[in-house]
């Protein structure tokens, strides 16, 4: 073993512990019985989960977040999958341009998108409505759908489609019976990312959710700014479970498949 190797084995575990620790601390705190944030918790219990379930504000924010995220998944998966199927057959210049536009939300400062949409949506009465959030979140989620479907399409033999067509299948039949089953894993992973992108999104929601479409992250943000109540630890833990478990499951599934 070289000295570099020994250094790696010494320091990397420390970095990894520091990376995971904040999340574990929040999860542990959510089970605290104390009425303020203190560590370690003097006693464990479900007090803050009960507080969450007993709060109409938190529950309504949860409902809106789920509604918006599910609608975003439907819209972005349909638009994104269709677009990806077409992309590969566009002439090169058009493809480059289209991919640039579709992927640009990945690097665009979200605040710029947020205030641009706030300015435009205010004129059409879309601020403070779940519909406005869905339209905005779809733009942010679509890059993940397109990359994910694109990846599964890259390993896809286009001759299978031609074979189906030449054997008399209709284009729609070919899509349903040949293309769709083969790219389904990519679509599912893309849909998952779209859900999480919307469910965790805060900056656009700060501007677009108004008083009537307050999402879960927006509600958490207000609590964090004005008073830190340990209910947030419970809500955080719930959102970690909602987002991390499906991703872990998808990852393990992909590993098993390959």
């Amino acid at each position: 073993m070289s000295p570099g190797d020994r250094l790696l084995r010494l320091f990397v575990p420390i970095i990894l512990v520091v990376m995971i620790a904040p999340i574990l601390v929040v999860i542990l705190l959510s089970f605290s019985q104390a009425s303020y944030l203190t560590f370690p918790p003097p006693a464990l219990g479900l007090r803050w989960y009960r507080a969450y379930l007993g709060s109409r504000d938190w529950l309504s924010a949860t409902r809106i977040s789920i509604e918006v995220a599910v609608s975003t998944v439907v819209l972005s998966t349909i638009l994104g999958t269709a677009a990806t199927l077409g992309l590969g057959r566009l002439p090169k210049w058009a493809r480059t341009l289209a991919i640039g536009l579709i992927l640009s939300p990945l690097v665009m400062p979200v605040i710029v998108v947020a205030i641009g949409l706030y300015y435009a949506f205010a004129r059409y009465g879309l601020v403070g409505t779940p519909a406005g959030l869905v339209l905005a979140h779809t733009c942010l989620a679509v890059p993940f759908v397109v990359t994910s479907v694109g990846t599964s399409l890259a390993g896809f033999d286009r001759r299978l489609e031609m074979a189906a067509l030449s054997l008399g299948a209709t284009p729609w039949g070919t899509f349903r019976q040949v293309t769709l089953p083969l790219i389904r894993p990519g679509i599912l992973v893309g849909a998952l990312f779209a859900f999480i992108t919307s469910f965790d999104e805060l900056i656009v929601s700060l501007f677009l959710s108004g008083a009537n479409a307050v999402t879960l992250p927006r509600r958490m943000w207000e609590d964090l700014r004005y008073d830190i109540d340990p209910t947030i630890a419970a809500v955080s833990t719930l959102t970690i479970v909602v987002t991390v478990l499906p991703l872990l499951w998808a990852r393990v599934g992909r590993r098993k498949a390959s």
């Binding site: 070289s2 190797d5 250094l7 790696l8 990397v12 970095i15 990894l16 990376m19 995971i20 620790a21 904040p22 999340i23 601390v25 929040v26 705190l29 944030l37 203190t38 560590f39 638009l79 994104g80 677009a83 199927l85 077409g86 057959r89 566009l90 536009l101 579709i102 992927l103 939300p105 990945l106 690097v107 665009m108 400062p109 605040i111 710029v112 998108v113 641009g116 949409l117 300015y119 905005a136 733009c139 990359t147 284009p171 965790d200 805060l202 900056i203 700060l206 501007f207 992250p217 958490m220 943000w221 964090l224 830190i228 947030i232 630890a233 959102t239 970690i240 987002t243 991390v244 991703l247």
Partner: protein
């Protein structure tokens, strides 16, 4: 005709609900109060803007450097054979999949006056009084490095994975020391990953809003925070100028990296 029919709905959707609104907003920087470049001229001598812009750039540089120094060894570690590397990958991905808001909250809990870190240091007798970390730049750097580390680790690990292992063995067989083989073979071949990671972390930190707002002090205001602040005050022309400046900086850095390293395609590999 069909490919266009498939792709057009999304392009149209993004044009209407993304591109045009952003462009219309940016246009207000030159169209108000009448067609003029005066808003930009004012920006160039505005000391508030200059301070905020420099703070944002400094934060981005520090965070990128921190991510590189901590992320490269982790990326190397991920390539070790066996279960340890797999577990390490899960440890990298778990925070990556957790929302920025939750991770910022976690650091508020850890770094607060009566937070875990202070309590632990006092209990260990290292300090007598709690340190003031929360609401300082240090808290912002720590939390942002934590949040952006996976964006550095994953592209570097990707690049390292593509290096043919026989190259390193050949170097060792020809008499290179392990350190020499790393410096002359592994490191240069991993540069595309490093460039992609540096670009990603830098560009993403330029737009940061949530973390500095929650963990920083009054002097840690970033351009994104200033933009939000100006929109709240309905100062749209100024907010639009700031947005244009932020966007131009982001695009300039991406163009620079594209020219130097050709990493434009790296963005296609950010798969979560």
């Amino acid at each position: 005709m069909t490919p266009l029919l498939l792709t057009a709905p999304l392009l149209l959707f993004m044009l209407v609900f993304y591109t045009l609104p952003v462009l219309a907003m940016l246009l207000r920087s030159v169209s108000e109060p009448h067609w003029t470049l005066a808003n930009y001229a004012a920006l160039s001598v505005d000391t508030v803007f200059q301070n905020v812009f420099l703070t944002t750039l400094r934060t981005a540089v520090i965070v990128t450097f921190g991510c590189l120094v901590l992320g490269y060894p982790v990326a190397l570690y991920l390539l070790r054979p066996g279960r340890t590397a797999l577990n390490a990958l899960i440890v990298v991905l778990l925070p990556f999949w957790t929302s920025i808001l939750v991770r910022s909250y976690a650091w508020m809990v850890l770094l607060g006056r009566r937070g875990l870190l202070n309590e632990a240091l006092i209990a260990a007798g290292v300090i007598a009084h709690p340190l003031r970390i929360l609401n300082t730049s240090i808290a912002v750097y720590i939390a942002m490095i934590h949040i952006l580390l996976p964006y550095m680790i994953l592209p570097i690990a990707n690049a390292l994975r593509q290096i043919d292992p026989s190259l390193r063995r050949a170097a060792l067989g020809l008499g290179a020391t392990p350190a020499g083989a790393f410096r002359q073979v592994t490191l240069p071949l991993s540069m595309p990953g490093v460039a992609a990671g540096v670009l990603l972390v830098f560009v993403l930190s330029l737009g940061f809003y949530i973390t500095p707002a929650l963990l920083g002090g009054p002097r840690d205001m970033t351009v994104a925070m200033l933009i939000a602040n100006q929109v709240d005050q309905l100062n749209w022309p100024y907010a639009a100028c700031l947005s244009a400046a932020l966007l131009a900086t982001t695009l300039a850095i991406m163009a620079l990296f594209q020219k130097l390293f050709g990493v434009g395609t790296a963005f296609r590999s950010i798969e979560r």
